[in-house]
Amino acid sequence: MYALFSIAGGLSTGLIGFYLGLGLVAIVRGITGHDAYDEQVSITIGYVCGLIGWLMGIGMWGAWGREWFGLRTYWRKAPGWQRYFTFSPDHKVIGIQYLVTFIVVFLLAGLGAMLMRWELMESGMQLFNHDQYNAVMSLHGILMVAVAVAAVIGGLGNYFVPLMIGAEDMAFPRLNALTYWLVPPVAAMLLATPFLGGIEHGWTAYPPLSVVTDSSQILFGLAVITFGLTSILGGLNFIITIIYMRAPGMTWGRLPIFVWSMFVTSWMALLYTQGFAVALLMVLLDRIAGMSFFNAEAGGDPLLYQHVFWFYSHPAVYIMVLPGFGIALEVISHFSRKPLFAYRYAVGGLLGILGLGGVVWAHHMFTSGMPNYLHGPFLVATEAISIPTGLVFLAALGTIWMGRLWLRTPMLFGLAVIFNFACGGVTGIFLADVPTDIHLQDTYFVVAHFHYTIVGGEIFGLFAGIYYWFPKMTGRMYNEKLAQLHFWWMFISFNVTFFVMHWPGIQGMNRRIADYPESLENVNLFVSISAFLLGASFLVFIYNMIYSWIRGPVAEANPWAARTIEWQVSSPPPVENFPEPPVVRGHPYDYGVPGSVHAVFPGAATIPAGAGGGQ
């Protein structure tokens, strides 16, 4: 009832805002002597007003807006599961909200991939026409980018960063809730694009195509700008939380590695996300206001878009993959029962990626016609980034070395991250080198490469994190046999699909194109079938999650006997996180080091922490 009330309130104020926006445009255009309705302008203004209405209606007005006018604020408190449908300041609620939303988006976007592979089973056109294929391809791309950017950061990051540093909540709880409630409009806008003709420019939206294509581009642009706002504000919140909210004794050298990876990622989101937003703002202005950022006739330059866009979108791959590294290192240390090897170097590696990540963007533009003298520096910078990445890898390998590996599902996924990303890193060398890149640019080699890095590096990390923290988030244990089945099924079909996909790429099969020469039919049929197998593996995951959340056996507070602080409270944690504030005494990963403790609760009668020497 509360849930229905909350969502219906948000939707109705959102719609009122949308129509107010339309009316405003109609009045202004009527006064200045234009038609009352212009699709692009009306949608833009209507969307902005509708977005504000939606946020206020969902609960931001009561919790925040009233304060601006000096009124008393209030929260809508809903019991049980219904709190997931309200504007809640609790980082644990927001983490679950993000996680469930993005798993749903992930499955929808995955369905798009299945449809694409269906079309690509044979050469020639079967399922779609070219426009429909483009729409599905673009939607798959942008939805998956959204999942990759926000699922780990928004979901697992929100839930576990405050718990791992011993804070009672994020630094700005209301801002946190705001960032989540910006997501449903983004998803709705993107899913609405097929009804306005479908986006056909891929997720990159290069002009001039994005300037001349149909009006669904407006929805795309507005959605992505809103999503950028989510990303920036979320990053800001994480940075402040990690700097100012750590428990006493939680020095920078004792920070769990997942928190470090979130810290670095948040800086990247804060520094670079504006690139995508500004690039799409320019496209919007070119479309709506007739400006000429990208109109070469009037002195504009389409290359400007690519520079501004890749200024974000290359660092974005580190925004996606670094939390995956963080989870992998975290899990590998806990399940190897060893101190994390070369902790300082791993942190240095993460910081090195932060430093170098901003100066490599133009390696996406080797064939775009930028000046030749830029090729060398960007080649060198791109290859140099493998040095800090290598440090992270060596830390993982050194931790595994001589460890007592406990091969539960989270550990399997953690090890898969290392394996898959190594494959993705090796194929990346060919794309960073200008001579080979000129051949491989925009082929399926690129598609295979970035699926190896992002799916192999981050999505496997996401699943490692979900299985690892499932007992903590839900208070119940998942089914280990089904989880292992999911892992091996997904791991094998993923590798078969994308390893084979390199081959048509080397043969010159272009990405983003619905048709290809008949000689590549066999290999494409093979890739399609293994892709369907990969897609089917998620059904096991979904069944396991839903069944275990409702019916699974009740989990202990610390089923993995892990040392970090989030495992020292009950599962799921109480609303205030820590009944007694924790004090940190030592390093989080000192498994087997005599006499070491990580966190203690001085106010509590018994001292539960510091456990976890052995299994």
Binding site: L270, V278, G299
Partner: protein, 184 residues
Amino acid sequence: MAAATHAAHATHDSLRIKRAGLWLFFFSETILFGLLMSARFFLEGIEREHLDQALGVGITSILVTSSVTAYMAETAIEHDRRSDAMWWLLGTIALGFIFAFGVGYEWATAEFTRHEAFGTVFFTMTGVHAAHVLSGVGLLALVAIQLGRGRFSSKDHWPISGTIMYWHFVDIVWIFFYPTLYLV
């Protein structure tokens, strides 16, 4: 006593967190404005178009003056001088409006259109900045209303300080935009 110290420590801390968060927000906005400036140099080099120089230097002086009056308002509330603070705030709002009208006048009399490259960057940069000015005026008006109702004091003036920091930030952005558009 211990509880009181603890509570005081908590509010002090949360003020510090808010201040740091606002600075990070400025940092993030700086990148946004920096990208717009880079777009201007990318498309036009350091060519200068003909603009109304007298108007430019005039509105710049007005915006900078408004920053001074905003500072005075903050200083006044820190010394518990409410009515002084109110007058300085109202002055700041007025100067902000004059600046916005100046930009509007420049838009109306510009010798180039938005369809050509310099017009594109000029209207985008001034437009995005003017949107920030207007939102700043709105925020100043909100805190001025609350000040009029007797809310703030030297102990509790974060909304005023935060809004005024935002105002200074918008001013700094213009200090960079002005040479970029008018002088280079």
